[in-house]
Symmetry: C2
Subunit: 106 residues, 2 copies
Amino acid sequence: MAELLSGTLDLLVLRVLNSGPLHGFGIGERIHVLSREALDVEEGSLYPALYRMEAKGWIESEWGQSERGRKAKLYSLTRDGRSQLETERENWNRAALAIRDILDNA
Amino acid sequence: MAELLSGTLDLLVLRVLNSGPLHGFGIGERIHVLSREALDVEEGSLYPALYRMEAKGWIESEWGQSERGRKAKLYSLTRDGRSQLETERENWNRAALAIRDILDNA
DNA sequence: AACAATTACCTCGACAATCTAGGCTTCGCG
DNA sequence: CGCGAAGCCTAGATTGTCGAGGTAATTGTT
């Protein structure tokens, strides 16, 4: 439930990782909580997204431990990832504003 | 050029038609102009979207004339379409707010 | 009259992102 | 010991969008 806006997942993941390294499961939790339960990232979407982003060089991973002491793959932003975050943030702002315009003024 | 947020096309079309009947080509133009060139709906996306929405009973069509006097298929909102517009508008507002939360507070 | 550009609609195939629905291992706790 | 939660993974189906084509009618231009 609680559908996710298509195409915004990368942006959200980048933004979360910009606050510090985190593992996949934790990223999903974080998005869920920060959105006050409004967004729910399915694992079947999240993990493939992480691989795509790693393949593009926006994030990198290493095995470590979660905050609960479990084995976990920790992702962190690369320099390219930080730059990509800014690009996608601007794209989002522009698109969201445009949609706002239409909803209000059409 | 000028990518469209995936999944928002229906909302935009419904919103434009809420201001009065219009033909497909005109809907695309209207979205383009109202968004101040920020959004560009490709015809390959628009027409299939119109058929989907008509099949779902949100809009209906009849052949008539465009404002330029050309033959055109005029679409208008149905009662279900108006209700769907409100639903999607709320979904959008909720999602956009949630994403704003994450971008600002993550 | 001939021609190009514009308006307007249509469709097919490719592609990308998401979801469903499974399955796996490890660990903590009662 | 057993169970549930934490955490990762993947295959398949679905869906939405786009690119690139095409057609027909009309308007404007030469």
